[in-house]
Amino acid sequence: VFGTGPRLEYEILEKLEELLVTADVGVRTTQKIINNLENSIHNIDKNDFQAILHALERELLNVFERNNQREILPQHQSTECKGTPRIILAIGVNGVGKTTSIAKIAHRYKTQGKDILLVAADTFRAAANEQIEILANRANLELVKSQYGADPASVLYDGIISAEKTKKDVVLVDTAGRLHTKVNLMEEIKKMNRVIRKNIHSSNIEVLLIIDSTAGHNAVYQARSFSENLGATGIMLTKLDGTAKGGMVVAIEDELEIPVKLVGIGEGIDDIEDFVPADFVKAILY
């Protein structure tokens, strides 16, 4: 199918392909975007690389502009489900930054004057409790935890009940890292999700998938699997302070429509920012 735009020179197509693939946009998504670009550019000087980049920028922004809801736990649409507490569940594969990120979000809410409760539902990994306990103490955050090896669903339940009793605004739940290919671990997180849904209205639930910006195509498999099992409502993209561009979120937004809401830009408790598509796209292209 030939588009109405000018077909670009092979050298230019290669340059664009290299730019997107090396940013981890993914090879198939890159092909799709470049095809869209060729079908959409009119009245453009085929030799003006800056103009072509500008058109590519628009093409990438089009993917992000389909998703306008980028707020964590967005404002309620109606007043009927305005109950408390609201809840954020951090999920994702091993080592991506779940514990650090949930502490950052909790600290942010605290500085906004919200009453928050952290729940240490990683009862599996060595010193997971100790790690989140230190972060909670440093930021003066209340924490619910249990012993090493306890059932994470019951720690979660205790946390929800405690938050309801003490009228907390937000409960933030840290979970153990798990590869999406491990059926028993996915069953465990699904069970935790059911516990939440039994007690809290869906408009008050944020299932936040934590994705490492250094990840390649596997990030899309992770997103697909977690989304199929639990339904992710948002993504936090971590470690963007490195050299990785995190381009696979383009594929994730394009194919799965899960919005990137937050980014992690360092190891400190304040190293968190709202995700801004325009800035993200510029960092890939320029």
Binding site: T22, V27, N94, R125, A126, G216, N218, T243, E267
Partner: protein, 290 residues
């Protein structure tokens, strides 16, 4: 064992007499997509396909009876070649203890892998000890202590900075006649000059025999930059590819080996301390080809 899916790329090349330079090029374009989807670095892939192209359109292949099989064989062998030798051993020191530093980016699996290495060497009757040189991450020392107690090995933590903890650990390991001391370090970005210098100082002060770079199997295009920086600034002796029990194809390993020229010594295949295996280039090549 190369997958059916990969072999299908060459199904059109299996009929003798129908082979042209053009359809080999088309098949190699497919190979390029396979490798990029497996997260092999873009430039590495271009170079790789270029080399294969020369070999594949060479006269011998065009005339052979099973040209498709021939091309697959060339791709597979070239990939194995890039991955270096199999089951490479750790450089043991002439005078004990052998010092091994475990380094890499945040969250890659260094602490877990340090403990796995202890279990691996203990099974071979080496006396091991651990050094907890991550003084930054909350409860990092505690994490290593928990693992050390599971393995019944000492975890050295004395010192007011990471380099001192490392050198003290080597002294204590020597005093206690340990064969191997494994130093767990804090995760750090390859672009963090201060923290990279800490590793350089630590390597110099401990005269470490082995610096092992831990790389997450799901790493994408950034693997090249990470590997290049760690090799140029610090110098590494080997690589450990972790989280191979997932479905990441692991093409980052090609970038790392190509850029550092160093072999992969082990793979991490799970969260338990037994989940450390020797690296086999042929198995890895098959996995990358999907």
């Amino acid at each position: 064992v190369i997958s059916e899916k990969f072999q299908n790329i060459f199904r059109n090349l299996k009929k003798p007499g129908r082979l042209t330079e053009d359809n080999i090029k088309a098949a190699l374009r497919e190979v390029q997509l396979v490798l990029l989807e497996a997260d092999v670095n873009y430039k590495v892939v271009k170079e790789f396909i270029g080399n294969i192209s020369e070999k594949a359109v060479g006269q011998q292949v065009l005339k052979s009876l099973q040209p498709g099989q021939q091309v697959i064989k060339v791709v597979h062998e070239e990939l194995i070649g890039l991955l270096g030798k199999s089951a490479c051993s750790i450089n043991m020191a002439e005078a004990q203890p052998t010092v091994i530093m475990v380094v890499g980016l945040q969250g890659g699996g260094k602490t877990t892998t340090s403990a796995k290495l202890v279990k691996y060497f203990t099974k071979q009757n080496y006396q091991c000890s651990l050094a907890a040189a991550d003084i930054y991450r909350p409860a990092a020392v505690k994490q290593l202590e928990v693992l050390g107690s599971q393995l019944n090995v000492p975890v050295f933590t004395e010192g007011n900075n990471a380099v001192k903890i490392a050198t003290n650990s080597v002294k204590l390991a020597s005093r206690d006649s340990k064969d191997i001391v494994i130093i767990d370090t804090a995760g750090r970005l390859h672009i963090d000059q201060t923290l990279m210098k800490e590793l350089v100082d630590m390597k110099k002060a401990t005269k470490a025999q082995e610096v092992l770079l831990v790389v997450d199997a799901m790493t994408g295009q950034d693997a090249v930059k990470i590997a290049r920086e760690y090799q140029d600034v610090l110098g590494i002796d080997g690589v450990i590819l972790t989280k191979m029990d997932g479905d990441a194809r692991g093409g980052a390993v090609i970038s790392v080996c190509a850029v550092t020229g160093k072999p992969v010594k082990f793979i991490g295949n799970g969260e338990k301390l037994d989940n450390l295996e020797l690296f086999y280039p042929d198995r890895m090549a098959s996995r990358i080809l999907g």
